[in-house]
């Protein structure tokens, strides 16, 4: 009786693994092609008002100018891209409730805008506004 049971068990071991490998390869290729390893970050920005009269005009405003040639200025003084956060921090000091307004000239790029927003946030500013202007005065 024991011999009679052994025979089919041995036959089952011969089952081919090839279909399994095929399926696993298909799954592997599917996941390789569909996954994305790009990690995006989020930067929250308040939307600007279309009417620029809503921009605060009083003295408690620091302006970051994004010039069309790629340079940056803080209240009209040229600063390097690396020193932007320090320049803004020097202007606002402890008064983090001061408004930082970012004025983008016509040819400025999004990368500059992102850098300016982050610099203002690094400097501790809680109110960061943005606006676009045609051409900034010297």
């Amino acid at each position: 009786m024991a011999d009679a049971f052994d025979v089919p068990v041995k036959r089952r071991r011969m089952m081919s693994l090839t279909p399994l490998i095929d399926v696993v390869f298909q799954l592997l290729i599917f996941f390789m092609l569909t996954t994305s390893f790009l990690q995006t970050q989020a930067l929250s920005v308040v939307t600007p008002a279309a009417d620029q009269k809503e921009l605060p005009e009083d003295a408690r405003v620091v302006e970051i100018w994004l010039m069309g040639d790629g340079s940056l200025r803080v209240d009209g003084d040229p600063v390097s891209s690396a020193g932007l956060a320090d320049a803004v921090r020097a202007r606002i000091g402890e008064r983090t409730d001061m408004t930082v307004t970012i004025l983008a000239e016509r040819d400025s790029r999004t990368q500059q805008l992102v850098r300016a927003v982050e610099a203002a946030r690094e400097a501790g500013a809680t109110n960061v506004g943005t606006a676009r202007v045609e051409r900034l005065g010297k």
Binding site: S36, Q41, A42, S44, L66, S108, V114
Partner: protein, 138 residues
Amino acid sequence: MIEFDEQDGAPAPRREFETTIPLINVVFLLLIFFLLAGTLGETSEVGVNLPSGTIDDPAPPQKVTLYVEADGFVWVGEQVMEPSLAGFMLKDFMKDKDKSRVSIKADQAAPAESVLTLMEGLRGAGVQQVTLLTERGS
């Protein structure tokens, strides 16, 4: 006795069979790696080089994503348009959308003016805050 002879006399087919098992192990490991490490991101048809940034604000998953291409054109839903037209289109587009979860994927070389114009349009459509998506970088 006959059974012993069969097992000892035919080792060759079994060895052939066993060489595929390490392969399957490796493929399974790769499969599990891609399953766990990758995020199934929805692939967008808009090619955008995100600007690099350092700040990562905690943000819930975004419901609406608008794109700004490197040439300054804006994607609202399935349509491409000038940023100046987006304000009008957004009023209709955002009517039944979640206004607190809007994100913008802007190319790093896109004019900041286009992004700001789009954000002004969003303000007009009732969106107070948007999320600019950036990539981790220096």
